[in-house]
C-alpha cells in the first residue's frame, strides 16, 4: 500500500497524538496541533484514534494513490479534490488506485488532517509516529514531506463499508473573533490587575509568527508586576506565555519541554480544535473559565467521540 508524493505542500508532516513520556528527557510531545480533527478523521476511516495521519498546513500536498484506499479529510478546508472532483470534508471516501488527491486555496482554518484506512506506516520512535522537525525525530525520516517521497500504509483489516453513513457536518466555523477559554495560572500572580484585565479584555491578533511550536499574538500590553522571567519550568499544551514584550505566545505541539517565561493562563483542551486552526490575522479573545468547567468540557468532547466511533461501527 503506497502513496506517492507528487507535490509536498508548504508543511505536510506525519503525526499521531504525540510522543508522551519523554518530556523529562527534553523531548517535546509533538503530534497533531488539532488532535480532535485528527481523531475524527481516523474514526471516519475506521482507524484507532492514535493512527498516524498527514497534517497539511495552509497549502496542501498533491498525492497519488497506488492502491485503493478509504480516506477522510477534516479540520481546515483547503479545497481538496480527487481527480479534480471536490471532496467533501468529514466524509469517508473511496479512492481508487491511480487517483490524485490535490489541495487548493484555503477556505478556512490552517491545518487539514488526511487519514487513510490502516494509517500511515512509519517506524515508531519513542512510541510515537509523530514528526518532531527541530531534532529530526519520527514521522517520515524526521522531516516534512518532499516531492518524490513514497509513504506506506499499514494494512488494516477490511476497508469500512457504507461510506455514505460515515459522515459528519464539518464543525469548524470561521468566526469574526474566536473565543478561547482559559484556566488562569500557574504564574497569574506575577501580573498586575491591569495586566490581567488587558489579557482577558482585549482582542488579540495572530501575528505572522505561528508554527507548530507556538502562536505569537499582537494586542494590548500585558503588564507584569515585577520580573517577567521565572526559573524554567514545564510548559503545557495551550500555555499562554508572556515575555517582557507583554505580547502573549500560545504554546503548541512542538513547544520546548521547559521555558523561563511567565505563563498567565492555559487554553483549555476543549478549545484546542480552535487553537490548532488559528492563522495569521485571525482575531481572538480569551475568556476565563474554571478548572472544573474546563475538565467537564473536555470529558464531554471525549464522550461524544466515543459515541461517534460506536455509532459508526454498529
Amino acid at each position: 500500500m503506497k502513496i506517492f508524493v507528487v507535490q509536498p505542500g508548504l508543511l505536510t508532516t506525519v503525526q499521531d497524538l504525540g510522543r508522551h513520556g519523554f518530556q523529562r528527557f527534553g523531548v517535546p510531545v509533538s503530534g497533531c496541533v488539532d488532535p480532535r480533527s485528527a481523531i475524527i478523521a481516523n474514526i471516519l476511516v475506521g482507524n484507532p484514534d492514535n493512527a498516524a495521519v498527514l497534517e497539511c498546513t495552509l497549502s496542501g500536498p498533491t498525492l497519488q494513490l497506488e492502491h485503493d484506499s478509504v480516506i477522510a479529510i477534516t479540520g481546515a478546508n483547503l479545497s481538496p479534490t480527487l481527480d479534480g472532483e471536490n471532496v467533501p470534508l468529514y466524509q469517508a471516501i473511496f479512492a481508487r488506485a491511480g487517483q490524485t488527491i490535490r489541495f487548493g486555496p484555503v477556505q478556512y482554518g490552517c491545518r487539514a488532517y488526511l487519514a487513510f484506512a490502516g494509517g500511515i506506516d512509519v517506524p515508531e520512535v519513542m512510541q510515537s509516529r509523530s514528526t518532531f522537525l527541530r531534532a529530526e525525530i519520527g514521522g517520515f525520516q524526521g522531516r516534512k514531506l518532499r516531492a518524490g517521497d513514497q509513504l506506506l500504509l499499514k494494512k488494516g483489516g477490511s476497508l469500512p463499508s457504507h461510506l455514505e453513513k460515515r459522515s459528519l457536518w464539518p464543525e469548524y466555523q470561521p468566526q469574526e473573533i474566536f473565543s478561547l477559554r482559559v484556566v488562569m495560572g500557574p504564574q497569574e500572580g506575577v501580573f498586575t490587575s491591569q495586566g490581567t484585565g488587558t489579557f482577558l479584555g482585549d482582542i488579540y491578533t495572530v501575528s505572522n509568527q505561528f508554527d507548530r511550536m507556538g502562536c505569537r499574538l499582537l494586542g494590548g500590553y500585558i503588564e507584569h508586576r515585577g520580573s517577567c522571567d521565572i526559573i524554567s519550568d514545564g510548559i503545557a499544551f495551550g500555555a499562554v506565555q508572556v515575555p517582557a514584550s507583554g505580547q502573549p505566545i500560545i504554546m503548541l505541539a512542538d513547544r520546548q519541554t521547559t521555558g523561563g517565561y511567565t505563563k498567565i493562563a492555559a487554553v483549555i483542551s476543549a478549545d484546542f480544535r480552535l487553537l490548532g486552526q488559528l492563522k495569521m490575522s485571525d482575531r481572538i479573545r480569551f475568556e476565563q473559565t474554571t478548572i472544573q468547567e474546563a475538565q467537564e468540557a473536555f470529558i464531554a468532547q471525549r464522550k461524544a467521540l466515543h459515541w461517534l466511533r460506536h455509532s459508526l461501527n454498529d
Binding site: 523529562r24 524554567s232 520546548q256 521547559t258 505563563k263
Partner: protein, 241 residues
C-alpha cells in the same frame, strides 16, 4: 516537605518546591518524582522535572483536578528531604581543546589562565543535572566554578557537532545532537547523551551527577569508533554521593 500545587491548564498540575536554583530544592523535585514512580497515581501520563518544580501531566477522563490535588498533597507530606540522593554518577571522557574545543584558549585568556588550568578546573567537580531540556537529552548542569565562566559567542555557530562540551555564562553543558548554538566550546565527548537507536535513548536524567575527565585525541577517535552500546558500558553507572 513544603510545596505548592497549581493548575497548569486542565491536564497538568505543577508542584512547586521553591523559587531558586539550588541542589536542595532540585533534590525535592527528584524525590517527589521518584515517589510518584514508586506509587503511581492512576491517570498520570508523565512528569516533567525542572529546576524547582515538577509538572504532572494527567488525563482528566481518569482523574479530576480536586482528586489530583488531594493525591499530590498526600504524596508530598510523606516525603522527607535531605541525605539520600536518588541520582547516578556518569563519568564522561572529554577531548579538550584542538578542533574539538576551538574556544578553550579564548576561555583561558578571558581569565588569565592556561588551557590546562581551565581543563583542571572543569574536571575537578561533579555537576548536578538539574533537568533536561532545550534539545532532547540536553542536560542543564549546575555548580560550575566561576573561575572559568565565559560569555556566549556574539554570533552563534550555525552547527555545533554532537558531543560538544561548552560553557555559557556560569553554566556548562553537552550538546546531545548537532545544533546551532552560541556556547563557547572547550571540548567534545564521544559519549552520546541522546541516541534514538539505543534501547535507552537517553543517558543522564534529572538528579544525576556528571564528572568530566580528560582523554586525548587518539582515545577519543578510538572510543568514537566503538558502538554506543560499548560506550555506555565504559561510561558505567555508580551511586552518587
Amino acid at each position: 516537605m513544603e510545596f505548592e500545587i497549581k493548575c497548569a491548564g486542565d491536564s497538568a498540575a505543577v508542584v512547586i518546591f521553591g523559587d531558586k536554583i539550588s541542589p536542595e530544592i532540585n533534590q525535592k523535585v527528584c524525590l517527589f518524582q521518584a515517589a510518584l514512580e514508586r506509587d503511581p497515581i492512576e491517570g498520570v501520563t508523565e512528569t516533567v522535572p525542572a529546576y524547582c518544580s515538577l509538572m504532572v501531566c494527567y488525563n482528566p477522563e481518569i482523574i479530576l483536578w480536586e482528586e489530583m490535588y488531594r493525591r499530590l498533597s498526600y504524596v508530598g507530606t510523606g516525603l522527607i528531604s535531605g541525605g539520600f540522593s536518588p541520582g547516578r554518577l556518569w563519568e564522561i571522557p572529554v577531548w579538550y581543546g584542538g578542533e574539538a574545543g576551538p574556544d578553550l584558549s579564548a576561555v583561558a585568556q578571558f581569565h588569565g589562565l592556561s588551557p590546562e588550568e581551565v581543563i583542571q578546573i572543569h574536571t575537578s567537580r561533579d555537576y548536578l543535572v538539574y533537568m533536561l531540556g532545550f534539545l532532547p537529552g540536553f542536560p542543564y548542569l549546575g555548580g560550575m566554578d566561576q573561575r572559568i565562566a565565559a560569555p556566549r559567542l556574539d554570533t552563534p555557530r550555525v552547527s555545533i557537532p554532537a558531543g560538544s562540551v561548552g560553557i555559557a555564562g556560569a553554566q556548562t553543558g553537552v550538546y546531545p545532537i548537532a545544533s546551532p548554538g552560541g556556547w563557547r566550546l572547550i571540548g567534545r565527548t564521544p559519549i552520546r547523551f541522546y541516541d534514538p537507536e539505543r534501547s535507552q535513548p537517553f543517558l543522564a536524567q534529572a538528579g544525576d551527577h556528571i564528572r568530566f575527565y580528560e582523554i586525548d585525541r587518539r582515545t577519543f577517535l578510538k572510543m568514537e569508533e566503538q558502538t554506543n552500546h560499548l560506550l555506555c558500558q565504559r561510561c558505567g553507572e555508580q551511586e552518587a554521593l
